[in-house]
Structures are given as C-alpha cells and as structure tokens.
C-alpha cells in the first residue's frame, strides 16, 4: 500500500493514544494533579475519569453521523471554509504549543542531567532530526515504530512504579478526600486536562483502516490511559511531599533514581531516560504528523510530507525562544491546563454538537 495513504489498524491507533498519554505521565502531569488536590488525588483521578468517560462517550456518539471525517471536515460542513480555517488554525496552534512544551521541558531536563556543557540547540537538533525523518518516512513507519516503543515505555513506567512499591504507606493517601470537597471535585475537575489524548480523537477517524472500530479504539485507549494515570499517581504521592512548593525536575525520573538493581546497575534511571527519549521522539513525530495533515487539508498540498521541514523549523524556532523554567512551569500547569479545557472540551464539543444539529435539521428538511 502507498505509504501516503496508509491507514491505521486498531492496535496501532491504540498505541498512538497510549504513547501520547505515556508522555504526559513522563512529563510531570501526575505531579500537577497532586499539587492541585493534595491527598485527594486518587479520588480526583477516579472522578475525572468518570467525567472524561462521559465526555468521550458523547464524542463517540457525535462522530457517528460523520464517517471518515475529522473535526476539520466537520467544521467545513458546519460553517464552510471560513470555519474550517479558524478551527484548523486553532488546532494547529494547540498542537504546536503542546509540542513546544514537551520539547522544551524534556530538553531542559536532559540538559540539566547530562548535557550541562552543551547549548540547548545541540540537544534540540537531535529531536528535530528524529521528528523530520519520522515524518518523511510516513504514517506507516511512525505507527509501527510507536507500537514497538509504547510497549517498552509502558514497561519502564510500570517497573518504575513497582520499584518503589515497598515504600508505599497508607498515611501518604490520607485524608483520602484531600483538602476539602470543593478542591477535590470542583477545582479538581480542571484536572480533566490530564487525559490530553482526547484531542486526537477529533482527528483519528479518517486515518483508521476500519472506521467502525472507532468506538472500540477510543474506549480501549481511554481505559488503559486512565489506569496508567491512576497507577502513576500512587508512587508519586508516596515519594513527594505535596505541601512543598518546589516542583521536582521530573517526578517519574526521581522515582526511577531510587530503584537499585544490585551493585552493578546502580542507577537504572539512565536506561529509563533512554526509553523515554524514544517515547518523546515518537510522540513529537505524531504531533507533527497531525499538524502536517491538518495543514494539508487547509492549503491543499498533495503530500503532507512536503510540510515536514517547515513545521519542524517552526517547532525548533519556538523551542529556541528564551524561557525560564518558572515560566515554562506556568505554561505547563496553568496555561496548558485551561487551553486544553477550553479548546478541546469546549470548542471541539461545541462544533460537534452544532454539526449534529445541522445534520438532523438537514435530514428533516429533506424528509
């Protein structure tokens, strides 16, 4: 099959969703949940799990009417080309911001741990090279590579979690409802952003080999992602004093540092970093792929691969904007959180609802 028209199998689509989620876990998202709701994190994760599930379920239902369409096609259906362009640009901006945050955050971690003598652009170029080559190789290569990497990444995360299982004490999780009900359930509802992979539900349907399996893919991915989030929360709550305002460099990395495998491999975190770099490569390649794909729909280029170099250059340019860590943390914890909530949970859902209304209205008119 032509690589340009490659369609994802169900398992490949699930792997793509899981790698998106795994990257959020690697990059401190569980810590942001805990920092907001304190010891009520477990209850909060179960609560946001339910909220997100309802959202995802409604979204699947709303997509029923639109076979082989993503949100860009649906916007065009709803409001013609102007709306298609507006929604397209908004989602491209979201993808760029997310990719930028991930890239800057992770390269900063790497620079601080291993490459303190090197300029940040040196590290960035390795990531840009990986993303460019991946996108030039096409969706088939990206999805199959992701299928392999996601297994390794999940194993590394689970080993990390179980590596410190012995330190888990019940005192760390009490009071189970956190500071108060308002924080855990009302303010804590904003933690819905942690299931960020929902963004890609808006785009995955046209690239699925079997669009009928859309529901199965989304629900399976959702279930596994939620389970992973819950499992990650527990050891982080065990190890970090949530009242201390100093945010760790990377919660999962610090947990990995505590694992010792005998005398020889004293610090297995280096091995985990190796796997996590792979998962960041895969994740960023997916983000750039969807940016390329969305742009292709907007500007009608024949092949999205042509946009790879320009989009990777934009990403590199964004990542080179001088930004200090506290600003980055603010963008990650606050700006990113509300951006996801407003655009993905708000705007996206609104478009889908209105498109369904139009569909029904048109159907009635025809009848």
């Amino acid at each position: 099959m032509d690589n340009n028209n490659y369609m994802l199998q169900k398992s490949e689509a699930i792997c793509i969703f899981l790698i998106i989620m795994a990257n959020k876990l690697i990059l401190n998202v569980p810590y942001y949940i805990i920092s907001l709701v304190g010891t009520g994190a477990i209850v909060n994760v179960i609560y946001i799990g339910l909220l997100d599930f309802v959202f995802v379920f409604v979204l699947i239902k709303l997509f029923d009417k639109f076979q082989n369409s993503d949100i860009i096609d649906i916007s065009e259906y709803l409001g013609g080309k102007p709306l298609k362009w507006i929604i397209g640009i908004i989602f491209i901006a979201v993808f760029f911001i997310v990719a930028f945050i991930t890239l800057v955050d992770f390269t900063n971690i790497l620079q601080r741990i291993y490459f303190s003598d090197f300029p940040i652009i040196y590290i960035l170029l390795f990531f840009i090279a990986a993303i460019s080559i991946a996108n030039l190789s096409g969706l088939r290569a990206i999805s199959r590579t992701t299928s392999f990497i996601v297994v390794l990444t999940l194993i590394s995360i689970i080993v990390t979690l179980f590596g410190i299982w012995g330190d888990v004490t019940i005192e760390n999780f009490t009071p189970i409802l956190g500071h108060n009900l308002r924080t855990t359930f009302l303010v804590g509802a904003s933690n819905c952003f942690s299931m960020y992979f929902i963004t890609y539900i808006y785009f995955i349907k046209p690239v699925l080999k079997d669009p009928v399996g859309f529901k199965k893919v989304v629900l399976t991915s959702y279930g596994l992602s939620w389970l992973l989030l819950l499992l990650t929360i527990i050891p982080i709550m065990t190890l970090f004093n949530i009242d201390v305002s100093n945010e760790p460099i990377n919660a999962l990395y610090l947990i990995a540092r505590k694992i010792e495998l005998g005398n020889f491999l004293q610090r297995v975190d280096a091995l985990f970093i190796f796997l996590w770099i792979l998962s960041i490569f895969a994740y960023l390649s997916i983000v750039i792929y969807f940016i390329n794909r969305t742009m292709k729909k907007l500007i009608n280029v024949s092949n999205e691969k042509m946009l790879t170099f320009s989009n990777c250059s934009i990403l590199l340019g964004l990542a080179l904007i001088p930004i200090n860590i506290s600003h980055l943390r603010f963008i990650e914890n606050t700006f990113y959180r509300y951006m996801i909530l407003i655009i993905i949970f708000g705007l996206g859902m609104l478009i889908m609802l209105l498109a369904n209304v139009k569909f029904k209205w048109k159907g009635k008119k025809k009848a």
């Binding site: 490459f115 096409g138 290569a141 199959r144 020889f264 280096a270 091995l271 770099i277 490569f281």
Partner: protein
C-alpha cells in the same frame, strides 16, 4: 665484447616499456541491433544450416564448438547429417553410445528388418509399403534418449546447445533434434560452509541448479512441489528455478515472485546474491529482506511453511522469500533441537545482535556521559586504564574497530594457510602491542573482542554485514550525545525497518503490526508438538501444519 660492454653502459637505448592504450573511439554496437531477436528458422538444406551456424558461433575462432558431420543411411538413401555440441559441456559417452551408434549402426539393422514381405497366401506375397517420414523415424526409432525436442528456430537451438544439448541436423529436414547430453563437470555435494550444524543434515547446495532441485525433491517427496524454471539475462540466459508448494503457498506470493523475476531487463545474472538485490522491495535498505541459505533441509522447511525458494544456476545458495526480522535470528539447527535449547540460543543470538550493533557506542556513551550507570569501582578502573592513552576515546575505539575489520577482511581474502598467520598478527600486534604502546586501553580490547564475537554469533551473513557497518554509526552517535545519540540511531533504524516489507510482509511481523502471535513463526519457539499453524502473515492455503493432537500415540495409550 669490450666495445659492446661500453656501448651498453654509455650509449642511449630506448626504454623497453610496453605501453598499450585502449582506443577510445566509439565502437558501440547499436542497442537495437543488440536486442534484435533472432527469428531465423531452420532450412531444409544442411549446408545452408551449417553455414549459418558457423557464422553464428564464429567457428573459425571458437575452439570448443564442435561439429561432427556424417552420413545417415536410411532406406537405401544417404542423408548428410551433422551433430553440433560444445566440448566440455556434453558427455562424450552419451553422444557416442546414444546418438552416433544408434544412428549409424542400429539404423542398418532396422532397415533390414523393415524390408520384409508379408505372405497372404502360399503363392501370393505382398510387399508392405508404408509411407515413410524421416523426421518421425529418427525421432521415434533411432534415438534412444529420454529428453529430445524438435526445434525449428535457431535462437532456441543455440540456447539448447549453450546449455549442454547436442543438436542433430539432418539434410532435407526443416527441424533440428536437440538431444540432452549434458555432462559438464561440477563440484560434488559437500557440507555447507557458512551454515554448518551439529545436529542436522550435512548436505549443501552446489552450483548446478539441477542437482539442487533434485536435493529438494529428495527431501519433499510430494508431487505438489512445483519447480518452475525461467531464464534471466539477455546474454547469460541464466536458469532460475522458482520453487513452491502448490497446495500451501499463497498464489499472490508466487505470482509476485514470478513477476519480479520475469521482468528483469539485464544482460547477465551470475548469482543468487545478485538476484536478491534485483527483486527486493526496498532497494536502498541495508538489512537483508530475504533469507539466503545453502542448506536444502532449511530450504525445504521454508517451502513447507508456505514460502517461495528461488535457485539460480551457478550459485550454491537458495533465496527464501519473504523474510522477516525474526527469521534472520534463527538457525538451521533450531528445528532439530529441543525447544528449550533452541530458545536459549535464540535469546543469545538476539543479545549478540544488540551487542554487535551497540556495545562500542554504549561504551563511549557511558564513559563520556552516563558515568552513574556503572559502579564507581569499574569507572575508576576504566579511567585509570585510559590515563596513559594520548588519544580521545572516539579515536581509540575507531582505530580498534577499523583494525578488527581489516583483520576480518584479510583473513577471508587470503588462502586458508595464511589466515592463521593473519589471526596471530592481529591478536599479537593489535592486541598486546597496541596496549603496551599505550595506543589503546586494555578494557577497549575486551569491548572490541566481545563485539566481534557477538557479530560472529549472528546467523545471517548479510545481516552481519549490515551490523558491522551500522556499528560505526552508533559509535559516532554515542560520542556525539551519549544515550540521546544512540536513541536517535535506534529510532531511525526502527522507522526504516518499520517501513520495510518483504514481498508484502512487514519486516517486524508477526509482532508489528500486531497479529496472532500465538502462531508458529515467533521469536519464542514452541515445542514441536505445538507448532500447529503456519505463519499468519504468509496467508497460506493450508494454515494448519499439525493436528491439534499431533502425538496420537499418547492419546491412544490412555
């Protein structure tokens, strides 16, 4: 004498250097003329045919093309005839005993027997007169050869003669009899050189395609084994055999293999390695996309699993298609061993693949960027060992790796009597002396030696080449950015391999894309009685390989 002596010393003489310069004038034969097909047909006159053959074969300068003219006495008539063959490619005994003797000796006897009369009554006898056809008579009664064809086109006659047939041209006949008299010398069946096993067959393929196909037939005693033959190469007309099991192999796979082989517009094909490069899916991919084996038993194993085997005349290797990455980690011996040992060996080979590819790069990465990964005692030992070395670590490791590659290449190219010497020189000079001279550290010798040995544990020769080459890439990446660089290398490798397929089968099958990994073609080998199904990715006509209860004797005993 004295005069001559002084003349030699003091006089000028022209240099005796002989110089030949290849003319650069354009003497190209036009392509159209070269590719023009010979459609000339056989004339009913021997002298005209002979004249044509003499021109075609350049008989005045070609010494091994032989013609034997003689007279064929049939029905009291004498027909001029001629045999055409290539000396060295035919069996002279076969020509003498099965062509010339029947034609010249038995022919006269046959004629006497045929000239009898039949008595109807006591006084009346009728002479039986049958319509005589010379062509049929020669074909049916005179030549006792099993393989004989009648050809009318010279192109076909020449092709047959070139492959060891003997052509019989008879005056007045517009056909030529091509009689199989192949008798060229070849290497006898010996043990495979590159795939020796302890527990298994010790027969290997040879250069003769017919011997090779017979070795396959000998193992697979079934009429459903199809061996199709095609010629590849406009000049060389190399015989290529496409083998598959008619009731097992997927028809599309067979059709695709035939399509690719039949659509090669090349002058010559000399080996299976060359053919492999011509028909592989991704021409720029360094990793092997087909299995190359010189073992008939391994070829048969793959044929029975639903794959296609291709044999090339003149090459002692068969190529198996399609191939996936896991196949390259398997050995011919795996099937003969208890599954515990086979799995252990596969694990060792996978480990060897990893070390052969990345160990020097990892060493550089750990010693330059990731010190924390190894115990401080070991780190201090490495640092102490490197104290006296004046070169940066990348230079040190590249020197050793290049030296190792040189030794490897030299020991293959020289004759076996020198290879021991090369080995000793390599071990002594590059090992002991380099350490004593403080050019490399002792620990690096261990790393390079371990990497080299790991490389030898890889079963597939082509994969070994790829690993040797990419090792240098990982060294550079490890030096450039430690694990980040090596990870980039891995990622690019994954992408390239994930995008690769071999005759429509993904390279990472059966794992990626996910399929039924309970099937047989897994990295983990199942016990022999549980290998019930053929690989799902081959989509064979007969998915089951064994009954769910293959050891019925156990069931019956209960």
């Amino acid at each position: 004498m004295i005069k001559e002596f002084f003349h030699k010393i003091f006089s000028y003489t022209d240099s005796e250097k002989y110089e030949f310069i290849l003319s650069n004038t354009n003497n190209n034969i036009p392509k159209e003329e070269y590719e023009k097909k010979d459609t000339t047909t056989v004339y009913p006159t021997l002298s005209v045919n002979l004249e044509y053959i003499k021109t075609k074969y350049n008989l005045l300068i070609n010494t091994d093309i032989k013609t034997r003219e003689f007279v064929l006495p049939i029905k009291s008539k004498n027909f001029s005839a001629c045999l055409l063959y290539i000396d060295g490619m035919v069996s002279e005994n076969a020509i003498n005993e099965f062509i010339l003797q029947p034609l010249l000796l038995r022919n006269s006897i046959t004629m006497q027997e045929n000239s009898n009369t039949t008595a109807i009554t006591k006084n009346i006898s009728v002479k039986r007169v049958r319509k005589f056809n010379l062509e049929d008579f020669i074909y049916n009664s005179l030549i006792p050869q099993n393989s004989i064809t009648k050809e009318t086109r010279f192109s076909q006659i020449v092709s047959n003669v070139n492959s060891g047939f003997c052509a019989l041209i008879v005056d007045t006949l517009p056909v030529v009899f091509c009689i199989e008299t192949k008798g060229f010398k070849g290497r006898s069946v010996t043990e495979p050189i590159t795939e020796s096993v302890i527990k298994g067959s010790h027969e290997g393929f040879v250069e003769n395609i017919r011997t090779n196909t017979s070795m396959i037939r000998k193992i697979i005693n079934n009429e459903k084994l199809i061996i199709e033959e095609v010629s590849v190469g406009k000049i060389s007309q190399t015989k290529v055999a496409i083998c598959y099991m008619k009731d097992i192999t997927n028809d599309d796979l067979v059709a695709e293999a035939k399509y690719r082989i039949n659509h090669l517009d090349i002058d010559f094909l000399l080996s299976s390695g060359q053919l492999e490069q011509f028909i592989k899916d991704n021409a720029n991919m360094a990793f092997p996309q087909m299995i190359s084996t010189e073992r008939p038993d391994r070829t048969c194993h793959y044929l029975l699993s639903g794959r296609v085997a291709v044999l090339v005349n003149g090459s002692p290797f068969s190529i198996i298609l399609p191939a996936v990455l896991i196949d390259l980690l398997t050995s011919a011996e795996d099937a003969n061993l208890n599954y515990h040992y086979a799995n252990f060996l596969r694990f060792i080979r996978a480990l060897a693949l990893f070390f052969a590819l990345t160990l020097p790069g990892m060493y550089i990465a750990i010693t330059t960027y990731h010190h924390e990964l190894i115990p401080s005692e070991l780190l201090s030992a490495i640092i102490t060992a490197r104290e006296a070395i004046p070169f940066p670590i990348i230079f040190e490791i590249l020197i050793m790796e290049l030296s190792f590659e040189l030794i490897q290449e030299a020991s293959i190219r020289v004759s076996s009597s020198f290879s021991t010497t090369v080995g000793i020189i390599g071990a002594l000079i590059l090992g002991e002396a380099a350490v004593s001279a403080n050019i490399v550290s002792p620990i690096l010798i261990i790393i390079v030696a371990f990497t080299g040995i790991s490389g030898f544990a890889i079963t597939d020769n082509t994969l070994r080449f790829a690993i040797r080459m990419f090792r240098f890439m990982y060294i550079v990446l490890g030096y450039a950015a430690g694990f980040l660089g090596i990870t980039l290398g891995f990622y690019i490798h994954f992408l390239l391999l994930a995008n690769t397929s071999s005759f429509g089968v993904p390279y990472f099958a059966p794992y990626i894309p996910f399929s039924n990994i309970t099937e047989n073609n897994n990295f983990h080998m199942k016990p022999v009685w549980k290998r019930e199904r053929r690989s799902q990715f081959l989509n064979t006509k007969k998915p089951e390989m064994e009954n769910s209860i293959s050891m019925k004797w156990r069931k019956n005993g209960q």
